[in-house]
């Protein structure tokens, strides 16, 4: 226990927590936007994976990391649009459509990588670029705080901007209010002249773009290459984190930090005498526990609300 405490009270540990939280946070924000529009985007997992590959491929071809990031965003937008088109226009079950996107991405990324580089599963033969790390003036010079908060990848700081933007979107813009209306009562929204299809497609495209950026972070920040299945269920964890966050963007930050903490802890614990398999399990166990706890809380609240209505 002392050892764990020693580990946790360490700048490097908290620096790692923030780093590990970043991709989950993008995905969770994506899940929040989809959920606000009344849709479950299970395709986030595959969208991240495709985004990760696109970033690597385009940054390698153009030798420009920013174009790589743009490609990740565009691929995310396209997959979001695909999901929206099939779920809304073709009346598909959105979960099945999301599964299709995940299968397509899991195999399609390997297919594409093999076709282009001849290597199966890893992109190290490509000279792909990474997005820069940033030292924040003033904060970088502070003791402890500086070494935890400064020097992160540019996408880690961008995600903070995204939190604020998503918050503003849902609380202070017409589009955000429309998305909420469409999600909560699509018929009513339709009856007051909101184009439900258009609003939902916008929400799912935004959701895909955020997942795409999360993928770009994985292959151009967290790592400097793409490897098959590198998302490792982060898109699914984001769905649980979304539920824990209760659809708020600030909640998304804390729910993702919970996962980031668990994942970092599991990375650090690998030196301890616990079977490594159990350590790898930690993030998923903590996520599912958090998910169950929040379901219990929501369930209780719902019962209380009903009781009050009756009484």
């Amino acid at each position: 226990m002392d050892m764990i405490m020693h580990m946790i009270w360490n700048d490097a540990f908290w620096f790692a927590v923030i780093r590990v939280t970043t991709p989950i946070l993008y995905a969770t924000l994506g899940a929040v936007i989809a959920s606000r529009a009344g849709a479950i985007n299970i395709g986030i997992e595959g969208t991240m994976l495709t985004g990760a590959l696109m970033g690597v491929l385009f940054s390698a071809f153009t030798q420009n990391a920013w174009i790589g990031l743009l490609a990740s965003m565009v691929s995310g937008a396209l997959l979001g649009a695909l999901l929206a088109y099939f779920a809304l226009k073709m009346k598909s079950n959105i979960v099945l459509t999301g599964i299709a996107i995940n299968i397509l991405s899991a195999g399609g990324t390997i297919f594409l990588l093999t076709t282009i580089t001849g290597d199966k599963g890893i992109s190290t033969s490509l000279n792909s670029k990474v997005l820069p790390n940033i030292d924040i003036p003033f904060i970088a010079d502070l003791p402890v705080v500086g070494s935890v908060l400064s020097g992160h990848n540019v996408l880690t700081y961008l995600v903070l901007v995204c939190i604020v933007m998503v918050h503003i979107l849902f609380n202070h813009t017409a589009l955000g209010l429309r998305i909420r209306a469409v999600g909560e009562a699509p018929e009513s929204a339709d009856s007051v002249g909101i184009d439900v299809f258009k609003i939902k497609i916008i929400a799912l495209v935004l959701s895909g773009v955020l997942a795409g950026i999360g993928g770009a972070f994985l292959s151009m920040g967290y790592m400097s290459w793409f490897s098959a299945g590198m998302t490792a269920g982060r898109g699914y964890i984001a769905l649980a984190a979304r539920a824990i966050a209760g659809n708020s963007s600030v909640g998304a930050l804390f729910a993702s930090l919970l996962f980031g903490f668990a994942d970092t802890l599991s990375n650090y614990l690998q030196s301890v005498q616990i079977p490594v398999e159990f350590i790898h399990m930690i993030p998923y166990v903590i996520t599912i526990l958090g998910f169950i706890v929040i379901s219990i809380v929501n369930n209780k609240r719902e019962l209380m609300r009903k009781k009050r209505q009756l009484g």
């Binding site: 479950i40 299970i42 099939f86 226009k89 073709m90 009346k91 598909s92 079950n93 979960v95 099945l96 459509t97 599964i99 299709a100 996107i101 299968i103 397509l104 899991a106 195999g107 399609g108 390997i110 297919f111 093999t114 076709t115 199966k120 269920g233 699914y236 964890i237 769905l239 649980a240 539920a243 079977p275 398999e277 159990f278 790898h280 399990m281 998923y284 166990v285 996520t287 599912i288 998910f291 169950i292 379901s295 219990i296 929501n298 369930n299």
Partner: protein, 360 residues
Amino acid sequence: MRKWKHHVDLFELLRILLALIIAIGVSALLILITSETPLYSLSVFLFAPFEKLKYFSNVLEMMVPLTFTGLSLCIVYQSKNFSLIADGCFYMGAVAAAFVAIKFVMPFGLHPFVAMAIAGIVGGFIGVLPGIIKIKWQANELVSSLMMNYIFYFLGLYIINYFLRDPQASVFASYKFSPTFALPGILEGTRLHAGFLIAMASVVLVYFYIYKTKWGYELRIVGDNLNFAKYSGINTAKVLVVSQFIAGTLAGVGGAIEMSGMYKRFIWDSPPSYAWDGVIIALLTKNNPKYVPFAAFFLSYLRIGADLMSRRSDVDNQIISIIQAVIILLIAAEHFLAKWRLKSENKVAKDKYITANLEG
């Protein structure tokens, strides 16, 4: 009435066939674009499984796990419970079977069946977990099952690494299974094993369960209309638990049979993910076990064709995932060809109206 129903079935069949043709067409196009020997690659992909008895039997061997996950997902989707825990059940079923295969000493004949029984129980208990969490706390089963799949995957790895791993082996592998554990072959000169027969028997049993028993009847009502089921006095929680247990058992048994039919050691350091094929099979068959062998054959044929193609040419076998995705997209799409369906339905209704009037 009968004629109308027949008409709709025929329409569904046409719709599915068209979706399959489009999916294969998309992959053929990709092969033509990416391969340096496009026509050769394509012909290997589409026809090579028929070249030799060995390849064709590979197709039948691959059908076995797909049939089990397909049946499992048919039951899961009959209950409208979108749990994907079958993946974890299948993997843990295989791990449990490997444990029995290595640690138990048993006579021929009995050994694989004990392994199947234990794997089935393990799979069943894992299978109900997302359902129970849903019943108790309304936690979404899709999300919880996806998390659990990772947890059980690591648990399975732990069991192999700490209890069954062969330190002499240079790669990830368990000790050799006891020879008494192997299922007998059923076709001379191939690896096709008795598990194929068990899979086909399971198809009949699951069909019987869903369409000919009280439990199956309740399951279908719960899936069709949960509120109606509640008001008619069906214990919906019990129906859900029982059906998820049976679904998990099928996946677990499938994992065990795959071990005893096809493997000498446990070598899956990542889950084979046959549950996703199960989702596609459930979708293709409209959750009716009767059609599962056909759908399993189709997917299995594509897998073997793609494997042969990637061995002999420059096209990667992951191309099947693109086919699978297109199939899901098109078949899940209710509006795919819906106008055509509406037209033909209208025509039938009109015909019926005219005949009725004439008779009246």
